[in-house]
Each structure stands twice: as structure tokens, then as C-alpha cells.
Amino acid sequence: MKELLRSFEKYRDWFCVSCGCPMDLKKTDITYLGSQFSLELPVCPECGMVFVPEELATGKMLEVEKILEDK
């Protein structure tokens, strides 16, 4: 997981179109079915738009969603 989050550094090259700023990595609280987690995700420093990378959404995030759905 740590490795995955470190790999998000590459999204600093992506930028928010409406603000024209490159994405930054920032702690973001994500929630599902009453549980909350904190993750460092690519975020626009101006408008706060968050990007959820494919490798997270289809990997660890999906895994945790399934676990929470069975709780």
C-alpha cells in the first residue's frame, strides 16, 4: 500500500484544468458504510478537486469496499 501511495507522486505532473495548477498530494478522508480512512491523494491545491487513480479504485479501494460490505 505504501508503495502504491508513493507511486502517486507521478500525478504531480497532472494539472487541474479549471485552476491551471499542478496536482498536489494531500491527506483526504474517504468514507464508506460508516467507516472512514485517510489517504494521500492527488488534489488541486486551488479548488480541492481530488483525483482517484485507477490503480487505487480497482485495487485496494475495491478490496476494502468488499470487506466493509460484508461487515
Binding site: 479548488c47 478537486m49 483525483f51 479504485a57 470487506i67
Partner: protein, 759 residues
């Protein structure tokens, strides 16, 4: 689920019942397990099984007279398994483990009178219960007694058993040190007399009032048994006697729950159809060699039921059988805090009812799983992702974009209402249009059209609330049309109407066509196709017959699959299996498609979709009767989820314009967006269940709002959260104003700062 309900379910599944040999054995030796172990060459395991069940294993395994032979299911197919010879082989193949007894003495004493097998067994069981046992026969007396029983016994074999008995606390004393049982009962807490020792059995008071269940005698506290010609029955008498002594000393009932102590009838069902006869391996004087033993053990049928499991991919997938699943589901529903491990299993059953029809006792996984789904919903423990896609699709099917109700163009009365079903309108819109045209041509009294979903997805999902709502709406609309006869093309809809809305008169399209007319331009298929009946047609033989009749009129030679008609297998869509567990749905379809090398003929749109997805050449009967010009339906791929939706909406627009000369509702803004969908991106959308409609909405949203992220290569990523799921689309604007879709994914977690969730 009530405990009582669990027990009712459990009782129906016989898989855990013992095999016939074990039930018939007075000591219940697991002959099936023994044969399996010998067959594999695992003789240590075979000896462990013998030692676990047989007292005096070194002796009894050598001289067992195998009364189980008369019950062996192999009897009719070559001859009963020579289990006695196999036991003897095992006993000679290596040492028994002879684990030390770790039972403390409990102060109770019992005398055992006699030196035969019954007495030795009683003594052995007595020390295992913690009693101090005195057996009145000396070692030399016992040796002589046993040597006379069989030439297969030697002093070494007998001493091994006696050493163990003595080592574990049995005191052997000469017979003359004893006394008549009546006197011994005053000196010990209880007495067992082995009647297979004539000297012991001759005392007065033992023959009268001899109860065969408890082995009580007329002397209080004195039990006697073992006067049988069978060695194994003598041992069983010793065991039964010591059990009675235990109950007697505890002050418990001597009679209750002893039905299964001796031989009993097992409920285990084993299918012997197709079992080739094979005679037993002859037993030579020296007994079996390892090869002979393995060959004889290999003849064992390893009796088990598993009838339903053999034919169901779902039941096989979870590596169990209904009784085990019933317990797992019961436990799953009882969990207050913790992980509900059976959720996915409960949602993976196709609810097709095949198991119920195969099972000798009618065990229904459908009832079990559907009941569990309803209970999970009540407990608010249904995983939100399980059925959402199918339920949203149902809502779409019944939305103004995809549903339609009109009387026949130019007529006011509606005697008939063609109801193709939402699936067929999605997969075969042109066939629906043509079939409707054909019906209007020959049916009198006006044929209306009704495009709608019957509510089956809600019913399968256990969503009573949603289903009732849809059903009431269906009934209201049907009445508003003057209660016409519904002509349904989908057996799923027929099933829903007949079971849930019996007021509605519904006939199948195939029955109507069979009776009335054959389309002229049908596809001439001359050849053999294997007919797959949909699971929703199992209760409707008239529909199955009509579908076959239409197929043969089209020149098709119908091949019957091994599991056909009322025993048919589901394609993997039923019960929303494919929705809750896509991999299993696909495995179910593949397994069904592998049952014949012929191309398949189906008459359910979902069977067509699931089979074609596996690459199986499959044709829907409607594609034969109303073929699309210049197309070979057998090589047509499955229609994607997105295209199914667009087809349904497109059919409504087309028919409104051509038949009723009505304007279609104005398309929404996003619908005008043109997408370029490379093959790999199309596959991603299909497997991740992301509709092109969602892609268009997301791109429109991103383009209009400017809320998008630019990738260094110039592509954009944008997201949309129409309800509970957030979708991410990566796309590239093209010069002609279209958008090329590069990638898409989704998540259910709520992330502030994505579309619809402000930071």
C-alpha cells in the same frame, strides 16, 4: 432464520448420512473411508480408521466377518466389497498407533466376567470411561479361548491387545477368583458378563429378561451379551453392555436414543446409474497383496449423494453441499458483529430450482438463498453492490426512455398485448419489431405493444418492496388497456405473471406462433442445434414443446442436452448470479456450453447473451424466425450492456415514429455527444459495467463545468457520481468534435473533492 427452519433444511440433505457399510456395521466402521485410504495407498490412515472404531483392532480387523457385505451397493454391480479381507490386509500392513489413554480413574468399578471378544471389548470401553475394570479370565485362558476362534490369530497378536489392556489399567484375574454375577454385583458397582464365554454365560439369572437393547438381566446392575455367531456382533454387544453400565451408573435412561447404536438404515442416496459391473478381487488364503487390496478398494463406489452438486457450477464453486451451505447461511444471518462470509454465496445462487428437482428430498437452494437475501435486506446487511446494476437497469427499462404502451396503430381495441420483455428489446430490437408486425398481421381484435420490465430483477434480488411496486403498476396498466391477453416472448416474464399476477392471462409467443402461423422469411437452418431450455421454463412444458415445434418447422433438428426440460441448467443470469458474481456467471455459462459440441438454440435473450459471451455459437429462436438480412446470427457476438440500453431506447424512438407517427421525447444534451470507443476501452466498459450513457454524461459534465484533470499527454480525466457510484472517465477530444474514450473505472467510496462531493 429460525433454528427450526435450519433443521428443516438440513434434514432434507442426505450427503452427511453414513454410507451403507458404515450404517450396517454393528460397530460402524467407516468402510468408505477405509477403501478411499487403501485405494490411495495411505495404509496408515486406513489403520487409523480401524483403530478409531474397532476395539481390539489387531484381533477384530483380522477376523471381522463383515456383515456389511449384505448392504453394500456394489452387490448389484459385480459383488459386495470384500471389506473383511481389506481390514485383514490393513491389520497386517503395519502397527496400530496404540496411543496411551489419558483418562483419569473416576472411582467407579466394574467386573467383567469372561474371556471372549464381548468381554474384552467391554473391558476396553470401560477403562476408556475411567472405570477400574477387573476381568475374570487369566491371560493364558484368554489366549486359548481366542486361538480357538480363528487360525488367523496368534499369541503375538493376542498379547499385543492384552498388553495394551493391562498397561491401561485392566486387571486380569483367573476365572476361579470370580464369583457368580449376583455376588459380583455386590462387590463392584456394575457387572458385564460376556455370553460368548460358555463358562461365564452359564450362570443363572442371565438368560431371563434379557433385553436386546440394554442387555439388562434379571440381576440388578448386571448386563450380559455376546452370544452371537458373529465376532463383530460379539464386540458390539460388549460395547453396548458397557454403554448401559455407564448409563446405569449415571442414573440415566437405559433406553433413550439408542436407535443408531446397532445396524440401521441410512438415508444416504447414491446414484448407481452407469456403474459398470466389476467382480471382487478373489481372496487367497494368505489374504490380499498390496496391489490386490488397492484394486479391491478401487471397486468401492465411495457412496455419496452430491446429485445436485454434480450439475451446478454454483454448488461446486463453494466446495460443499446444501446441508453445509444451510449451516453457513444460518450462521451468516446470525452474525451481529464480524464478517459475513456467506454474503457472496447467498447472492450467487441462480435461483433456478434445478437442485430441488434433482434432490431425492427436494432440497431447495432457491428457497434458502432467496429467503436469506430477504432477511439480509431486513437486517440492512445486503451489500449495496450486489444487485445495484440490475436494479438500476430495471428502473431504466421502465422509464419513459425505454418503455412503451400503445394499442395497435389505427385501432382502439386491444385484445392482445405483445410483451417482448426488456432483455429481448435490448438484444434483438429488430426481431421485436418484426415479430410485432407479424402478430398484427394475423391476430384479430387489435394487438397492442408493451415494452416494459416485469420486475424479475427485483424478485431475484429479494426486494419485495420494489417488486410489489412494479407488479401493482403492471396490473394497473394492464387493466387500463382492457385486460388483454399478454403474449410474452420471455419465459421469465411468463413465470412472473403466472406466479405473482395470476389475474393476468398470459401466453407465450411460441405457443401463439405454433398455433397460428409460421413467418415466411425464416432463416433456413437445416442442421442440428442443441436446445437449451431457460430455467424460467421448467414449469411450462407447453412452452418448451412449442419452442421445439417452431424450431423444427424452421428445419432445425433439435438435439437434447443431458440436463434438459424440467432439469435444465441456468445460463448464469438467473437469480442475478452474473450481477453479484460475474466470474461465476461466466463459469456457469461455459460449463453449460461445454455439454455439447453442437451450436446452441435458445429462446431466452439472457441465455443468448451469456452463451455468446463465452464464444459459443448460439442463436435465439426469434433470430431464426425473423432474421436480420445478411447476418449469420450464430456468429453474432453478445450485445454489450450499453448497447442493450441504447437498443431499448432506440426501439421506442423508432416504433413511436414509424408506427404511431409520434415525436420522440427530446434527447438529453449528453446524448448528442459522439464517442469513439477503441476495442480495449469497450471491453473495459463492459467488464466494469460502465455504460456509454454514463461516459457521455461524465464528459458533458467535465466539458461544461471545466472540472477535469489534464494528463501530461493532453488527455483528460473527469468524474461523475450519478447516485452511489463515482465514475472516472479518461478521454481525448477529437478534431471532429467527438471524444475518444481511453479508460474508465469506478469506486463506491465517497471521496470529498470528486464530482458531487464537494471538499
Amino acid at each position: 432464520m429460525e433454528k427450526k427452519t435450519l433443521l428443516e433444511f438440513e434434514k432434507k440433505c442426505v450427503q452427511e448420512e453414513p454410507p451403507r457399510c458404515q450404517a450396517a456395521c454393528p460397530l460402524h466402521l467407516d468402510g468408505r473411508g477405509l477403501c478411499a485410504a487403501v485405494g490411495k495407498g495411505d495404509l496408515a490412515e486406513a489403520r487409523r480408521l480401524i483403530e478409531k472404531t474397532l476395539p481390539l483392532p489387531g484381533i477384530l480387523a483380522r477376523i471381522c466377518d463383515a456383515p456389511c457385505r449384505n448392504s453394500c451397493l456394489r452387490m448389484e454391480a459385480g459383488g459386495a466389497i470384500e471389506l473383511g479381507a481389506l481390514e485383514r490386509f490393513c491389520a497386517g500392513s503395519g502397527p496400530f498407533r496404540r496411543l496411551p489413554l489419558l483418562v483419569p480413574r473416576n472411582g467407579r468399578t466394574a467386573a467383567v466376567l469372561g474371556g471372549g471378544i464381548a468381554s474384552l471389548t467391554a473391558a476396553l470401553d470401560g477403562i476408556k470411561k475411567g472405570y477400574s475394570i477387573t476381568l475374570f479370565r487369566s491371560r493364558s485362558e484368554i489366549r486359548q479361548f481366542l486361538l480357538d476362534l480363528s487360525p488367523l490369530l496368534t499369541n503375538t497378536i493376542i498379547d499385543e491387545e492384552l498388553d495394551w489392556l493391562e498397561k491401561n489399567g485392566t486387571v486380569l484375574r483367573p476365572f476361579e477368583d470370580g464369583a457368580p454375577p449376583a455376588e459380583l454385583s455386590g462387590m463392584f458397582h456394575s457387572v458385564f458378563v460376556g455370553m460368548d464365554d460358555p463358562a461365564a454365560g452359564g450362570y443363572p439369572g442371565l438368560q431371563e429378561r434379557h433385553d436386546p437393547i440394554t442387555l439388562e438381566t434379571s440381576l440388578p446392575g448386571v448386563f450380559a451379551g455376546g452370544d452371537s455367531g458373529s465376532f463383530i456382533e460379539r464386540a458390539a454387544a460388549g460395547r453396548r453392555g458397557m454403554k448401559s453400565i455407564e448409563r446405569f451408573l449415571q442414573g440415566a435412561s437405559l433406553t433413550t436414543s439408542r436407535e443408531k447404536e446397532g445396524p440401521f438404515h441410512t438415508r444416504l442416496f447414491t446414484n448407481v446409474e452407469g456403474v459398470a459391473p466389476k467382480p471382487p478381487v478373489p481372496v487367497s488364503t494368505g489374504g490380499y497383496s498390496p496391489e490386490e487390496a488397492a484394486a479391491e478398494a478401487g471397486r468401492c463406489l465411495l457412496c455419496e449423494c452430491m446429485e445436485c452438486v454434480k450439475h451446478c457450477e454454483f454448488l461446486q464453486h463453494y466446495k460443499g453441499y446444501p446441508k453445509k451451505y444451510a449451516r453457513e447461511i444460518y450462521n451468516n444471518l446470525s452474525i451481529v458483529q464480524g464478517t459475513r462470509l456467506a454474503n457472496r454465496m447467498i447472492n450467487s445462487c441462480a435461483l433456478c430450482g434445478q437442485c430441488e428437482r434433482i434432490c431425492p428430498n427436494g432440497f431447495s437452494m432457491r428457497d434458502l438463498c432467496l429467503g436469506a437475501r430477504k432477511e439480509m435486506l431486513l437486517q440492512q446487511k445486503m451489500p449495496p453492490s450486489a444487485h445495484e446494476f440490475a436494479l438500476e437497469d430495471m428502473v431504466f427499462s421502465n422509464s419513459p426512455s425505454a418503455s412503451l404502451l400503445r394499442p395497435e396503430p389505427g385501432r382502439r381495441e386491444t385484445a392482445w398485448l405483445f410483451y417482448p420483455g426488456c432483455r429481448l428489446s435490448g438484444t434483438s430490437p429488430s426481431q421485436v419489431r418484426d415479430a410485432y408486425g407479424f402478430l398484427r398481421n394475423f391476430l384479430e381484435g387489435g394487438v397492442g405493444l408493451w415494452l416494459r420490465c416485469c420486475g424479475a430483477p427485483a424478485r431475484w434480488a429479494g426486494r419485495e418492496d420494489l417488486f410489489r411496486k412494479e407488479a401493482e403498476e403492471t396490473l394497473r396498466i394492464w387493466k387500463s388497456m382492457g385486460s388483454p391477453v399478454i403474449i410474452a416472448a420471455c419465459t421469465g416474464c411468463v413465470d412472473v405473471f403466472r406466479r405473482e399476477l395470476p389475474e393476468i392471462r398470459v401466453v407465450s409467443l411460441w405457443e401463439v406462433l405454433e398455433k397460428e402461423a409460421m413467418p415466411e422469411e425464416f432463416l433456413k437452418m437445416n442442421g442440428t442445434l442443441a436446445v437449451h431450455d431457460p430455467c424460467t421454463a421448467v414449469d411450462y412444458p407447453e412452452i418448451r414443446r412449442a419452442a421445439r415445434s417452431m424450431a423444427s418447422r424452421a428445419g432445425i433438428d433439435c438435439e437434447e442436452l443431458p440436463m434438459t426440460a424440467e432439469l435444465t441448467s441456468c445460463c448464469g443470469y438467473g437469480g442475478l448470479q452474473e450481477c453479484a458474481n460475474p466470474e461465476l456467471g461466466s463459469a456457469t455459462a461455459s460449463s453449460r456450453c461445454g455439454e455439447s459440441s453442437s451450436d446452441y438454440l435458445v429462446y431466452c435473450a439472457m441465455c443468448r447473451t451469456l452463451f455468446a459471451r463465452t464464444g459459443k455459437r448460439t442463436v435465439h429462436l426469434l433470430e431464426v424466425l425473423f432474421p436480420a438480412p445478411g447476418k449469420d446470427p450464430l456468429s453474432m457476438p453478445a450485445v454489450s450492456w450499453s448497447d442493450q440500453r441504447e437498443n431499448r431506447a432506440g426501439l421506442v424512438r423508432e416504433l413511436l415514429g414509424t408506427l404511431w407517427k409520434e415525436e420522440s421525447p427530446m434527447p438529453e444534451e449528453h446524448e448528442a455527444i459522439k464517442l469513439v470507443l477503441p476495442e480495449d476501452a469497450g471491453k473495459i466498459l463492459e467488464t466494469r459495467r460502465i455504460l456509454t450513457d454514463t461516459v457521455k454524461r461524465a464528459i458533458r459534465n467535465g466539458e461544461n463545468s471545466g472540472r477535469k484533470i489534464a494528463r501530461p499527454d493532453g488527455a483528460f480525466a473527469t468524474c461523475l457520481k450519478p447516485a452511489s457510484v463515482t465514475y472516472w472517465i479518461v478521454y481525448r477530444p477529437l478534431e471532429d468534435g467527438a471524444f475518444e474514450v481511453l479508460n474508465a473505472w469506478s469506486h463506491r467510496m465517497t471521496v470529498p473533492g470528486t464530482e458531487g462531493s464537494l471538499p
